[in-house]
Symmetry: C2
Subunit: 206 residues, 2 copies
DNA sequence: GTCTATACGGCGATAGAC
DNA sequence: GTCTATCGCCGTATAGAC
């Protein structure tokens, strides 16, 4: 139970903060050093170069992209429960680290080579999701649907509002508290939206 | 019908390209000059500083954020038609200029002051949309719903896939062509998704 | 209006004392 | 391991010839 962080830990914490906020190109080694309360030279002592320091941060971030989402879809229960679980977990992740998705989308555009190579190793649980959806469709719980579209719907609905948070707050004239409560309402809304879309055809009631 | 562009126009075109791709911090005046086929000094001759050049580009981009969306919701027709029209128009806009949303979300985070002031003047047509939804609800065409949530749904579903395009292509293992056709399918999907969600309660069939 | 040359500062990175 | 000092490069911006 040591509350004193090592120099390396303080550097990493500072680097996360600055890289996530400014991206690779916008981040300054000096700012990271200041944030960590140490000297610029120490950054190079511990991590040779800006590139290598960035790689460590990037690796961490990518590892946290897909929490334990795959397991949710492989577990027991109805698809509605699984989708609900996915949304809960994913909203929580994005809410805790809102900078990560924007950071990743940015780097994917400005430094594609660097990012996309590593991104290949962090695929979403598309296979598990497809299986879960097929089984649910066979049970008549939902209609047949393209799991890629459904995953894109889910990611869009969960991630976008946090990525665009400052813009949306301005558009809707919201305070931070109001935004948070609006975001909270969304969890349930999103699940309903998706399940409604996947409802099986009901010729009788049509 | 003059195909020869003035120097100023060529600078602006080059600046759009570079700023949209790299953001303010990542863009280099040298790159803009090369792209325009002129000298670096000319940039400063026409636009004094990088900041002022950027402001011009930003202004343009903000003006194109909301096409003539407001009019769609004020016109005749069912809400389903209006939503469909919104999606068509908005997808088209984002498809044509995919860099603009990411660019705006970025600058909103890294240079909030500069952007958010001007952003206030480019609000989405929330008022028109709210009115159209209230009227549709009164006609029994849809259930009562928070127009802010509906607008957030729409923006999320339309914008996110384009902003995250490189990432999604990698996740799903898609070529550019495959991505485009997936995006095309989405237009209809999104409209259905939203209208399904807004369907009025039907106690008889419930 | 367009060019070359240059000023000036900030950046990443390293050397070397302690 | 930690610091100060400094190198070399590249960024924005300007001066001045044509």
């Amino acid at each position: 139970m040591e509350t004193v962080l090592t120099t390396e830990q303080r550097i990493l914490e500072a680097a996360r903060k600055v890289f996530f906020a400014k991206g690779f190109g916008g981040a300054r080694m000096q700012e990271i050093a200041d944030e960590a309360g140490i000297n610029k030279a120490m950054l190079h002592y511990y991590f040779r170069s800006k590139d290598q320091l960035f790689d460590v941060i990037l690796e961490e971030a990518l590892g946290r992209l897909w929490p334990t989402v795959g397991e949710i879809f492989m577990g027991e229960g109805t698809l509605a429960e699984k989708i609900g679980g996915f949304v809960d977990l994913y909203v929580e992740m994005v809410q805790e680290r809102p900078y990560i998705p924007l950071f990743i989308m940015n780097e994917a555009q400005s430094n594609p080579a660097k990012l996309l190579a590593r991104l290949g190793e962090c695929r979403p649980p598309l296979q598990q999701m497809a299986t879960a959806m097929q089984q649910a469709a066979a049970r008549g719980e939902i209609r047949a649907a393209d799991p890629r579209q459904t995953l894109m719907h889910l990611m869009s609905l969960v991630v976008f509002p946090f990525v665009a948070r400052p813009v949306l707050k301005m558009f809707f004239g919201l305070t931070e508290d109001q935004f948070i409560s609006l975001a909270r309402e969304r969890k349930r809304e999103i699940t309903c939206l998706i399940m409604n879309d996947l409802k099986p055809d009901t010729p009788v009631n049509n």
